[in-house]
Symmetry: C2
Subunit: 497 residues, 2 copies
């Protein structure tokens, strides 16, 4: 539900339905998006996550909007940590489920010269190296190309970037060196020589050597955070690059959980959400990135780089559209510096459309997109214009760390990761209560319990089809969006061994 | 303690000592600051807050660094709400106390045409209008001019801006109109006509009228927030403008508390801090704005507007200075998008000095200033360069609202506002414990109890002069900075009537 309906009206035809390579690509995807010549093959064919192990018949069945079946893991399937998974397609918004997901166990290794070039093609390894668990949910918009590609590659990029600091991960007790020589070994600067140079340099600021020779201590944890951040950026660059050779439609929000060496790193770029439920208490692990939450960052960019607004938009926010007849009157506004509102006299420039407009789920950047972080969208333009949205979008996630090994967890303590379709209709508290209630009634040794809890959660949020649409038990409207959810037991790594 | 010591070495001579108009101005203030020709008179003479009612002898005594007397309200003085106040000068860092404070009761009125031009000269009014209480603490640096001017005028600017929405404040139950006609009366757009126009406009985005004719409801509270934000901006503009005619040295952090119609608005621009202590629990009311907390905003500006870095600085952060011999090696870094750290190969451009450098209280913007929001500093340049710092500083406060009337308060529930000199050595918890302990031993009817609590707080944070400097009871170093503190009883307005 992220691209404006105006544009979505044009984007319901998103590629053919035949899975596994028989994909007809017909990418009239929305938002002025141009996907390159139709002759380009898709980077990856449309499909559902491999771990669902769907037959073509089941895949076809899953897209039947009238029934909106909740798809879950098969009883004989087994994800790492006994992770639970469920998904449901939207109520007719598009033909395909634009959400994607991945759940992988990988191994971080020292890069060999051979791997440097082809590591993305490597599978999840032979069981040697430092184990890495990865869960990702990707909420696509204006096509499923970016979401599918990210679900296939992001975890491998993270693994490979971690491989580059493998020697540091092997020695987790010593702080990472500030500087590395070309061969990768720590490089110690000759501070005495450095100090002398500075004193001789007439331009150097002549402070006590204490301040200017300080070294910030950087933890291994913040190095892993940096790895994850840069891997997201590389994923985004890769989508842009491969669009030269493949049809990779749309963009996607990306939410990833990475377990490495006792810590869980939650990285979020978009409006998906992750919460930890511990003793039935909610610990939020993400913030959402939307036109409302990132308003000031976007306005600041529009203010500093007005050419990005293409003479069509103003960086100033108004509470409604201004009519030409209102020139000279006073209107409430706020700029990039303000949180409150004030009145300003309306001038010609204020008649442009506001860069950020609308409230809540209807808030949009340039009347086009409702999320401000994610991957892809390189071609996304404002409808009927040559104005690109991408400069206003960030592909960098916010990363939060949860020290898994420092906390005790029971079998009902879980991490829930879900796309916005879930959270739009079900609050954190409701999710926690539903999951806790379900799990407490469920045999702790049942390997399906987390999948059943995920399924239960989706049934609640999708609702039941009545005459007036999909309805929740309380008669509120159920989610009309795609929903994808992982329920991950925090004591799960103990079940591995 | 906000301007780098390098520059402070040059700025210890900050004007003469004679108060009340006999001020010799000799503004060799630091940081490459140029205060205009020496012939310019000061905008306001140096002095301590009027409510302290100091004699010239006492003023002289207060600057004797050897004793660092804690100054408080006189026993027969009385501030609104029985507000408590205390201050102490730094331990020799500068001759004068660069902190300032104000505490005023004012009245918001409908502006008359006469007031429009001269209202700043108006005093606090005749008791008619909507009452407004104001407390401000100003922490100056590189001279006391900006702090003094702000302490004299900011509350009047806020009052006058509130006067402009007087008719809205009079009707607090109806939401402020989105649009005002030139005469100030609400203007209702002809939405039917507007909709028709849009449909005819070929360039208009052809969405459902619902989204494009929505009106955001803006609360009166966010209008007051906007008033406060814009008043800070106007205060900053006024300092810039009056520097043409007066010597107004340095800059200042500004922290203000405004009580209006049942709500307390706390506005903070800088590294001062306010906390509410209620039932001995701490409610933080401010965030500090420092090179560390605003790193990404500043790096983003440097990235988008590299010309502001004057070819001397890089927007990338490194954990230490890079030496020329390290070219081609790999160094930890982070840019404006990152929270974690990663390695990058050092190139020529990385040899520039980092825009943000140092840790904690030693963190600086362009090696010069340790706060990133405040008033003044228009002339502040990087030492020995033509690079201005001001574009990186914001004069806009963060405003938080506390609904005073919706909470019950006992006589020991207070708002504590203090400059960073207090919080550098005393934690929120320690302040709360000290104030609560002091007040609980103190007769609730004693009009001096909040001033005595403020005095007690300052004695604890200043410490006692020993051979090795000012020491706290636990032998840690006491604050060497100026300290100013208000202790404001939250049930205080009840004592007014």
């Amino acid at each position: 539900m992220m691209i404006s309906k105006v544009k979505n009206a044009m984007s319901t035809l998103v590629g053919g339905m035949m899975p596994h390579g028989h994909h007809h690509h017909n990418h009239h995807s929305g938002g002025g998006q141009t996907c390159g010549p139709d002759s380009l093959p898709p980077r990856f064919p449309y499909g559902r996550p491999d771990f669902l192990d769907l037959t073509p018949e089941l895949l076809q069945y899953s897209t039947e909007h009238a029934s909106r079946p909740v798809l879950t893991l098969k009883r004989d399937s087994r994800l790492p940590w006994r992770t639970g998974y469920a998904e449901v397609i939207n109520a007719g918004k598009s033909m395909l489920n634009e959400d994607q997901a991945s759940c992988e166990k990988l191994f971080v290794k020292k890069p060999s010269s051979k791997q440097r070039n082809s590591s993305l093609l490597e599978d999840n390894g032979d069981g040697t190296g430092i184990p890495l668990h990865f869960w990702g949910v990707y909420d696509g918009h204006a096509g499923s190309g970016a979401a599918i590609m990210a679900s296939k590659l992001l975890h491998r990029l993270i693994r490979d970037r971690l491989g580059e600091i493998f020697h540091l991960l092997e020695n987790p007790t010593s702080a990472p060196p500030i500087c590395l020589a070309k061969n990768g070994s720590p490089y110690q600067a000759d501070t005495k020589k450095g100090a002398a140079q500075e004193t001789e340099d007439p331009d150097a600021v002549n402070d006590s050597s204490l301040r200017f020779h300080m070294e910030k201590v950087v933890s291994l944890e913040s190095l892993v955070m940096g790895v994850i951040e840069t891997a997201f950026t590389q994923m985004d660059d890769l989508i842009e690059k491969e669009k030269m050779s493949y049809a990779i439609s749309g963009g996607c929000c990306a939410l990833a959980a990475i377990y490495l060496m006792g810590k869980l790193y939650i990285a979020n770029a978009g409006d998906s959400r992750a919460i930890i439920i511990r003793n039935n208490e909610v610990i939020p692990m993400t913030n959402e990135f939307t036109p409302e939450s990132e308003r000031q960052r976007l306005q600041y960019l529009g203010f500093l780089r007005p050419e990005l607004l293409g003479n069509e938009f103003t960086h100033i926010e108004f509470p409604r559209r201004i009519q030409h007849s209102e020139l000279g009157k006073k209107m409430l506004y706020r700029d990039h510096t303000m949180t409150g509102w004030a009145y300003k006299t309306i001038v010609e420039d204020d008649l442009k459309f506001p860069l950020i407009y609308g409230e809540g789920k209807k808030a949009r950047v340039m009347a086009t997109i409702g999320v401000t972080r994610g991957l892809g969208d390189h071609d996304l333009k404002v409808y009927n214009s040559n104005i690109y949205i991408k400069p206003f979008l960030s592909c960098v996630p916010e990363v939060k760390v949860y020290n898994l090994d420092e906390n005790k967890h029971g079998p009902d303590d879980v991490l829930v990761m879900g796309t916005d379709g879930l959270w739009d209709v079900t609050t954190d508290r409701e999710v926690a209560d539903a999951v806790s209630a379900y799990l407490s009634c469920c045999d702790p040794s049942d390997p399906m319990r987390y999948t059943l809890a995920a399924q239960d959660l989706l049934m609640r949020s999708r609702g039941v089809l009545k005459e007036r649409g999909w309805r929740l038990p309380n008669e509120r409207l159920g989610s009309g969006d795609d929903i994808t959810v992982f329920v991950i037991p925090l004591a799960g790594q103990e079940s591995e061994t």
